[in-house]
């Protein structure tokens, strides 16, 4: 007997389906950043909140260990003053001549390059507003997240450099392990030796290996910019290792272009874990399984 409430199969119960639809935006999406709240409509509520907080005699906060700050060059500042530790909610800033090293207890370290503003927004979450950091993470995957204006960089066990330009465009280059770049509606996996850009309004772009042919890099950039006609050039230029880029193109294109991409991966890669029809459907679960099969050829 079908039971929609139990397993989502069978005829949908209208109220259950309505609740699923209403509550889906609250679903856990790994570390994808939350959409920025609209501020104007909530001014009154914010004012009330501030008034009540001011009236509260004591505000307790969770105990959070500070992150050690080491001056590597110049004088990095926290909240405008020289510092040895970075507490919650505070900005660490380096000018054009300063460098700092953040040591994150049990998690790893981050080198903060000149001209960078980075804030510790939660116990294990940073916000990189502008500039660049290089991270070496020793923690288990997914415990350290860096938010940028366009995506969240989720450590999957790795070393990487993350750069945010004025205007918000973000560049990620992974030197060891994996990083997931996550934004609402789109995530990409970037392995060692590959890079990816994200741009405001467009989310994470397709990852490419640093040694990928120029023709592939150019074609992928055009597809990311909305030029589906460039798929043919990407397919023609791809090497076996570039199934990384092709796999990320599968859900971005449709129709004959998707067929061409899927068939090229099938020709270049190891036997797939699922029938071609499932791969052409491009659902997230199928692509995850395919990625696991292809990943060994990316090293």
């Amino acid at each position: 007997m079908s039971d929609y409430l139990y397993d989502g199969k069978g005829p949908p119960d209208p109220e259950v389906a309505r609740l699923e639809e209403l509550l889906a935006p609250m679903r856990y999406r790994g570390a994808a950043p939350r959409p920025r709240a609209r501020r104007w409509p909530f001014y009154a509520a914010a004012a009330a909140t501030a008034a009540m907080a001011a009236a509260a005699p004591i505000v307790l906060r969770p105990r959070v260990e500070p992150w050690a700050v080491e001056d590597v060059a110049g004088t990095p500042t926290c909240g405008g003053a020289p510092c040895r530790a970075l507490p919650l909610e505070q900005w660490l800033e380096t000018d054009g001549a300063s460098r700092a090293r953040l040591t994150v207890a049990k998690l790893g370290r981050m080198d903060v390059e000149p001209g960078t503003r980075v804030r510790r927004k939660a116990a294990h979450r940073l916000e990189l507003a502008v500039g660049a950091i290089s991270a070496r993470v020793s923690a288990p995957p997914r415990l350290l997240v860096v938010d940028t204006p366009t995506a969240a960089a989720v450590d999957l066990g790795c070393a990487y450099r993350l750069m945010v330009a004025e205007g918000g465009a973000t560049h990620l280059e992974v030197t060891w392990g994996w990083v997931s770049l996550e934004a609402p509606g789109r995530s990409v996996y970037v392995p060692a030796g590959a890079e990816a850009w994200t741009t405001p309004g467009a989310g994470p772009g397709t990852p490419v290996f640093l040694d990928a042919p120029a023709a592939l890099r150019e074609a992928v950039a055009r597809v990311d910019a909305g030029d589906a006609a460039a798929v043919a050039a990407a397919v023609a230029a791809a090497r076996a290792r570039d199934t990384l880029s092709l796999l990320h193109l599968v859900p971005r294109v449709a129709g004959d272009a998707r067929v061409a991409v899927v068939d090229r991966i099938l020709a270049l890669g190891p036997p797939p874990p699922l029938p071609r029809e499932r791969l052409l459907a491009a659902d997230a679960a199928a692509l995850d399984r395919w990625r696991e099969t292809l990943a060994p050829s990316w090293y």
Binding site: Y6, L19, G30, A139, P140
Partner: protein, 197 residues
């Protein structure tokens, strides 16, 4: 009112994660990452039932970090899901204690947008949170996280039958509280499960 079906029945598949847990204890951080991928939704649902939605995602990381610090103390690798769920409940309680005195939490600001989907979602979440814990957690795993009943059973250690009971009894209560029409399915499944139990 019938009591929620609790943790008294262990699901037969609960040992499936034991090798990953053992590897994580030995310091295999990729095994721990795999556990994060498997259990992230369950932990988030437990937190969402207790703390403001805007805090829940950040606290998921805290819960896994605490689990990592304490995994050596876990005596039964097959009991990882229940152990992790307890860490999540304690973390939520710590968080609420620490924030006592602060105000203006709510996603519930959405109530300002009466009649919109946001307001309806906030109302539905509040109604689910007011249910007994076992119903609340199970419904959030199903309705928010999109987990199937079998998946909930595998993660929590409950039997599939207990999950089904929690879902249907919880949904029946939720319908009453939200003023939704009663469903014959909830009544029928409830009766079937009571006979099975």
């Amino acid at each position: 009112m019938a009591e929620p079906a609790g943790m008294r029945h262990q699901h037969d598949d609960r040992g499936a994660d034991a090798p990953l847990v053992a590897a994580a204890r030995r310091g295999d951080r990729f095994a721990f990452g795999a556990l994060h991928a498997r259990y992230g939704k369950m932990v988030h649902a437990i937190l969402l039932g207790r703390v403001p939605a805007r805090d829940a995602a950040d606290l998921v990381q805290d819960v896994f970090l605490r689990a990592l610090e304490r995994i050596a103390s876990l005596r039964d690798d097959a009991a990882f899901g229940g152990w992790l769920a307890q860490i999540a409940r304690h973390r939520a309680a710590d968080h609420l204690r620490a924030r006592r005195g602060e105000s203006g939490l709510p996603e519930d600001l959405a109530a300002r947008d009466a009649g919109t989907g946001r307001a309806e979602a906030a109302q539905a979440l509040a109604a689910i949170r007011a249910l007994p814990d076992a119903y609340c957690e199970t419904l959030l795993m199903r309705l928010v996280e999109g987990m199937t009943g079998d998946e909930i059973a595998a993660r929590t250690g409950l039997t599939p039958g207990s999950v089904r009971v929690n879902l249907h009894r919880g949904m029946r209560l939720l319908r009453e509280r939200l003023g939704l029409p009663a469903s014959l399915a909830d009544e029928a499944k409830d009766e079937v499960e009571e006979v099975d139990e």
